[in-house]
């Protein structure tokens, strides 16, 4: 990465170094050349000026001599000769321009001839020859020297002007060049920068895209490893992660598969059909029993129609449907036999309680029902068989006790009365057994009607009153106002009432009152019968509704022990519940709760 960034930035760095060097070179060149040109040309101009001046002085010396001032003239001439020589030497050492050397050499040659002529001048004594020499020879030579010196000056001055121009134009060109160069470098920098950005971002973007796909579950994604830098390492690490995830998923999938197989094998070993449904009611899983069942019922999709409703309601959030009796069994035809399936529908919820499906267990209770039927039939057959001789015994006893055949003595009467009492008791017992068998097998038809609890109680009250009055007591009622209606078979519920009240009267002290209370308890209506009898010992309270159960030590003649069992069956068949509250020594409250009737229910229900 560092290298990548470095390599990416390198062209930009090189460009800037190049531009910098070029600028330095340019400035050096600009400043250096002008300086040199100015210095050199200035020396030459100076030398030219000096030469011109000293030459003029020498000419003036000669002029003075012509005018008679021999001595002053000679001194002037001699004084300026070395000056001229020095200037000339200076000029000769500072030849910089083309043609300047020739000019200087001509000056030198002219100077040599001028000095030779001057020597002859000074050697001549006569004024005429001197004049002649001066005007014909020395003066033209002096003029030439002077002109040449001037030419040197001009030449150098000209060059200085030119150098100035050159420097200006050079400066101008350099500015343009620099401007273009900077533009070009900025352009290149942008180009390289973009390339660098791409080079760095591209792998990251690839990685991001692959990460997203990985997140979506596509674990077979590979990030191409293009470089050996940090990004390459990241891509490599990423690929390793994906590989490990793949492996992990494989393991997890294997475990899930194994768990599923275990479940399936366990369930297929289960004789009852088990189905798992998704929220839309589709069958996700069916064990082999369920598969066979659906095949036999010729159902490709969905459940038997009779079960569908319960499944639907559970899938829509209704509480689990777990039947407690065989009442909810659904008849189906399998292989020309009638079979009974008891559906259990259990909503499947995740940890946060969201419903995601339902499990349906269809327990085949055909055999149970058969056994139940056999038991019920057995009980009723046996009861009927018992009943026939018993009725004849009973009738004979009645006949004798009528004393129409003949009068009985006291002992005979006592014995026959005892026999009749036992016959009646036996008959009640058999009738109770038959009732219970009928209730249990569902043969006891219910004729439900919607009735107000008040009316229900008031209708039966006279009969109940008689039961309590037989014990010299009184039945008092306390019925809460505005109670919801209940749906009951009034005869059956009347049976429960008379059972409760007769028990209460039986176990009360003679003259004790019995209370009948009706009130609302939640959604149900509670009917309770309260006595002030001895109460039920705690240890027997749970068993009091069992058939044939009797509290040890109670009056044997009083009952058979089926009354409360029948009451319980009746209340259960009404969808209600039965119970008691009892404090030994203070009394008992037997109650049953009936669900309040829905307003849309009608009076008759099969």
């Amino acid at each position: 990465m560092k290298k990548r960034i470095f390599l990416g930035l390198l062209p930009i760095i090189v460009l800037f170094i190049g531009v910098g060097l070029y600028a330095v070179w340019l400035f050096t060149r600009l400043g250096g050349s002008i300086d040199t040109i100015l210095r050199e040309n200035y020396q030459s101009v100076l030398a030219g000026q000096e030469m011109k001046e000293s030459a003029e002085r020498m000419d003036s010396g000669l002029s003075f001599a012509l005018a008679g001032e021999e001595k002053r003239g000679h001194e002037l001439f001699d004084a300026n000769t070395p000056l001229f020589g020095a200037s000339l030497t200076k000029e000769l050492n500072n030849i910089t321009l083309p043609g300047e050397g020739e000019l200087a050499n001509r000056i030198k040659e002219s100077e040599g001839r001028y000095q030779t002529l001057a020597k002859s001048f000074w050697a001549a004594t006569d004024a005429g020859s001197r004049r002649d020499m001066y005007f014909s020879r020395l003066l033209p030579l002096f003029t030439q020297i002077k002109n040449d010196a001037q030419a040197v000056i001009d030449m150098n001055q000209e060059n200085m002007v030119q150098a100035d121009h050159y420097a200006r134009s050079l400066s101008k060109d350099s500015t343009h060049a620099m401007f273009l160069l900077v533009l070009a470098v900025v352009g290149l920098a942008i180009f390289f920068g973009y390339g660098l950005q791409r080079a760095i971002l591209k792998p990251i973007q690839t990685l991001t895209a692959v990460s997203k796909e990985l997140g979506d579950g596509k674990l077979d994604q590979i990030v191409p490893v293009q470089s050996k830098d940090e990004l390459g390492e990241l891509a490599d690490a990423f690929n390793k992660l994906a590989t490990k995830l793949r492996a992990y998923r494989q393991v997890t999938t294997d475990q899930i598969l194994q768990a599923r197989q275990m479940t399936e094998i366990t369930f297929s070993a289960f004789p009852d059909p088990i189905l798992a449904l998704s929220l839309d009611g589709k069958i996700n899983f069916a064990n082999s029993a369920a598969g066979k069942l659906l095949q036999k019922l010729d159902l490709k999709e969905g459940m038997p129609a009779a079960i569908q409703d319960e499944v639907e309601s559970v899938l829509h959030g209704a509480p689990d449907s777990v039947p407690t009796s065989f009442e909810g069994a659904v008849p189906v035809r399998i292989d020309d036999h009638e079979a009974f399936l008891l559906p259990r529908v259990i909503g499947m919820r995740d940890d946060s309680g969201n419903l995601f499906g339902a499990a349906v267990v269809l327990q085949d209770i055909t055999r149970f029902r058969l056994m139940d039927e056999v038991k019920t039939n057995l009980v009723s057959t046996v009861s009927h068989e018992l009943k026939t001789p018993l009725t004849s015994i009973r009738m004979g006893l009645h006949l004798l006790l009528e004393e129409k055949i003949g009068l009985l003595n006291a002992k005979q009467l006592e014995l026959l009365l005892a026999a009749r009492e036992d016959a009646e008791r036996l008959l009640r017992m058999i009738n109770d057994l038959l009732d219970l068998a009928r209730l249990e097998s569902g043969q006891m038809r219910q004729r439900l009607e919607i009735i107000s609890p008040t009316v229900l109680v008031e209708n039966i009250l006279p009969d109940l009153q008689l039961l309590v009055e037989a014990n010299d007591g009184h039945l008092t009622t306390n019925i809460a106002p505005d109670l919801a209606n209940v749906s009951v078979d009034t005869r059956q519920i009347g049976h429960v009432f008379s059972n409760f009240v007769s028990n209460a009267a039986r176990f009360s002290k003679p003259g004790d009152d019995v209370q009948l209370l009706v009130k609302a308890v939640g959604n149900a209506i509670r009917f309770s019968v309260v006595d002030h009898g001895p109460g039920i010992p705690k240890e027997f309270q749970a068993r009091i509704f069992e058939r044939f159960f009797r509290i040890p030590g109670t009056d044997q003649v009083a009952g058979v022990g089926l009354g409360l069992a029948i009451a319980k069956e009746i209340v259960a068949s009404h969808g209600g519940s039965i119970g008691l509250n009892s404090v030994p020594g203070e009394g008992s409250e037997f109650y049953f709760d009936l669900p309040s009737a829905k307003s849309d229910a009608n009076g008759a229900k099969p």
Binding site: S392, M395, H398, E402, K404
Partner: protein, 227 residues
């Protein structure tokens, strides 16, 4: 001549009880242990009442009744049923047996019903039937004999004489049930119940109709009411 009564029951001891009960009333009693034996007796002798147990080995009480009617024996029949035999009672009724007793029975029940049937058929000889009670009795007698039109006329008369009689309405219900007009039967039972909520015979008949309608069977026997 003492009224002659036939008892048909396969239980010897039951027959003994019935016989002693009825003999003490001064009736002449004949016993039959099976339907076949009963048919013999019925062909041989004239009887005032035949007491038939619904359950008999071989040919049952109902089949016997049908056979009796088939061969033209019109003797009034009283049916003794056990609690669970009632569904057949409807068929028995159509055969003219409108009097039922349910086991276990007490001697006085038997005595009362036999006397009622005898009385009903004795009154046939009286030419002038004018009071309400007599019309009810006559209607029952006609039902026994399956003279439905006469029964209907007697019922109409009875109702004219007493427009508020639960008994008449109940009997009219029974009549229409025998005629298989369940709608009218229900209407008359309903009238009776309206007149007296606690009139058990009508309640019982109504329950039976309800149960027959909803379940196809019923454990409630017919109830003609007293008289």
């Amino acid at each position: 001549m003492r009224p002659r009564i036939l008892i048909v029951d396969d239980e010897t001891n039951v027959r003994l009880n019935y016989r002693i009960t009825l003999e003490m009333e001064g009736y002449e009693v004949t016993e039959a242990a099976s339907a076949l034996q009963a048919l013999h007796e019925l062909i041989e002798h004239d009887f005032s009442v035949a007491i038939l147990d619904m359950r008999l080995p071989g040919m049952d009480g109902l089949a016997l009744l049908a056979k009796m009617r088939e061969v033209g024996i019109t003797v009034p029949a009283m049916i003794v049923t056990a609690y669970s035999d009632v569904p057949h009672a409807v068929r028995a009724m159509k055969l003219g047996a409108i009097d039922f007793l349910q086991k276990p029975l007490r001697p006085e029940d038997l005595r009362r019903l036999v006397a009622e049937i005898l009385d009903r058929h004795a009154s046939r000889r009286e030419h002038q039937i004018e009071d309400f009670k007599s019309h009810i009795v006559a209607a029952k007698r006609c039902l026994n004999l399956r003279s439905f039109e006469s029964a209907r006329l007697h019922l109409v008369k009875a109702m004219e004489l007493n427009t508020k009689s639960v008994e008449a309405f109940n009997l009219a219900g029974v009549f229409y049930e025998m005629m298989e007009d369940l709608h009218k039967a229900k209407k008359y039972y309903g009238q009776a119940i309206k007149l007296n909520k606690n009139y058990e015979p009508a309640q019982q008949n109504m329950r039976r109709l309800f149960e027959l309608e909803h379940f196809g069977s019923s454990s409630e026997p017919f109830n003609l009411g007293e008289g």
